[in-house]
C-alpha cells in the first residue's frame, strides 16, 4: 500500500513544481518506507525504458510529405488593397485621349470648305454643343482623376503595410 503523496513523488522525480515542495518531499521520503519503495520502482522502471533508443525515420520521408503538399500548393494570391491605382491612371489617360481626338476632329471639320455652308444648320449647332459638353466633362474628369491618384496611391500603400 503506497502513501497518498505519490503525485508529489512524481513531481520530485521529474523535477516539476517548486524547490520548496521538493525539499518537503525529500524530508517525507526519508521517513516514509512506502515512498522510498515507490521511488525505487520508479527509478528502476524508468532506467529500463531508457534502454530503448530513439530511431530515425527514413531519410526520404520528407520528400513524400513534400510531394503530398506540393500537389495542392495554391498560387500565391495577391492581397487586394481595395483601390487599384493602375486602373485609375488608365481611366485618366483614356479621358485625355478622347479629349484630344474630339478636339482634333472639331478643328478638322471647321476647317473644311463645305462646313461653312452647313454651320448654321440646327443639327450641326446641336452636335457642336454636345461636343463642347463632352469636352468639358472629359477635362473635368481628367483633372479630378489625376488629382486624386496620388492620394489613393498613398492610401493603398498604407493599407498594404498594415495588412
Amino acid at each position: 500500500m503506497y502513501c497518498e503523496n505519490k503525485n508529489h513523488l512524481l513531481d520530485l522525480y521529474f523535477l516539476e513544481g517548486n524547490e520548496h515542495e521538493h525539499s518537503e518531499m525529500r524530508e517525507h521520503v526519508a521517513n516514509c518506507e512506502s515512498c522510498r519503495e515507490y521511488l525505487g520502482t520508479l527509478k528502476e522502471t524508468m532506467s529500463m525504458l531508457d534502454k530503448l533508443e530513439d530511431k530515425e525515420p527514413s531519410p526520404g520521408l520528407f520528400d513524400n510529405i513534400l510531394a503530398e503538399v506540393s500537389v495542392s500548393i495554391p498560387k500565391p494570391v495577391k492581397q487586394k488593397t481595395g483601390i487599384q491605382v493602375i486602373p485609375i491612371l488608365q481611366i485618366a489617360f483614356g479621358e485625355i485621349f478622347l479629349f484630344s481626338l474630339i478636339y482634333f476632329l472639331k478643328i478638322q471639320i471647321t476647317l473644311m470648305p463645305a462646313f461653312k455652308a452647313v454651320q448654321n444648320h440646327w443639327f450641326v449647332q446641336s452636335l457642336g454643343s454636345v461636343g463642347i459638353a463632352v469636352l468639358i466633362v472629359l477635362t473635368a474628369g481628367t483633372f479630378i482623376t489625376l488629382s486624386i491618384a496620388p492620394v489613393l496611391l498613398f492610401e493603398s500603400k498604407e493599407r498594404k503595410s498594415f495588412s
Partner: protein, 196 residues
C-alpha cells in the same frame, strides 16, 4: 541548404509557421528537422511498427501544412500543437480494428505473478538478461492500454511536463498522474514476467 534556408533555421517555431501559412516548404522542412524525430519516436513507441509510424508521421506533417492557419501561438506552443495532431492521428489509426492489438489486463498479470514465486525478488534486468531486452521493453509498452501508453511516452521519452501533456490531451493533471502510476505498476509487472 541554401543561404535563405540557413537563415531560416534561426527562426522561432511561430515565425516558421507564418511562413508555412504562406506556403513556404522550406519552413516546413525546418520544422520537420526540429520535431520530426520526436514525433516519429512517439508514434513508433505507441504503435511498435516502423511502417505505420512513418505513414502517421507523414500524415501529421501534411496536416500541419493544411491546417497551418488554425495554429494560434497565443493558445499554446507549436510543439504542443504538433504533438496534439500526432496524438490524435495515432489514436484514430490505432482504434481501427485492422491492427487487432491486445492490451494488457491487470488481472492477467496478477495471475502470472502468483505463478512466478521466487522470480519476483530478482532485479528486472537480471530476469531479462538472456532475452532481447529492447524488444521486451517495446512489447511491454505496446501492451499498455492506449491512455497509459500515451502518458508514459510523452512523459518519459518526450520529457514533457504533466501540465503540457494535460493541455495536449485535454485531460486533468491529476488523471494523468494516476494513469502514470497505473502504467508504472503494469510495466513493472510486464517486465518482470517478460512473457508475452
Amino acid at each position: 541548404m541554401d543561404n535563405a534556408e540557413r537563415d531560416m533555421t534561426k527562426f522561432s517555431d511561430e515565425e516558421l509557421m507564418v511562413l508555412v501559412c504562406e506556403r513556404n516548404t522550406k519552413a516546413l522542412k525546418i520544422l520537420y528537422d526540429r520535431y520530426g524525430k520526436g514525433v516519429y519516436n512517439f508514434i513508433l513507441r505507441y504503435t511498435n511498427n516502423r511502417e505505420i509510424s512513418e505513414d502517421l508521421l507523414q500524415e501529421t506533417f501534411t496536416r500541419v501544412w493544411f491546417a497551418s492557419h488554425t495554429f494560434n501561438p497565443v493558445r499554446g506552443a507549436f510543439k504542443s500543437w504538433l504533438f496534439t495532431i500526432g496524438i490524435n492521428i495515432t489514436r484514430n489509426e490505432m482504434t481501427k480494428k485492422r491492427y487487432g492489438y491486445h492490451y494488457v489486463d491487470l488481472d492477467e498479470i496478477s495471475r502470472d505473478d502468483e505463478d512466478r514465486g521466487k522470480k519476483e525478488t530478482e532485479p528486472m534486468e537480471n530476469i531479462l538478461e538472456h532475452s532481447d531486452l529492447k524488444d521486451t521493453i517495446s512489447k511491454a509498452i505496446e501492451r499498455l492500454n492506449p491512455f497509459l501508453k500515451e502518458v508514459v511516452i510523452l512523459k518519459h521519452y518526450q520529457r514533457l511536463k504533466f501540465s503540457e501533456i494535460a493541455e495536449m490531451t485535454n485531460t486533468p493533471e491529476g488523471t494523468l498522474k494516476a494513469r502514470f502510476h497505473n502504467a508504472l505498476g503494469q510495466l513493472k509487472k510486464l517486465l518482470e514476467t517478460a512473457e508475452f
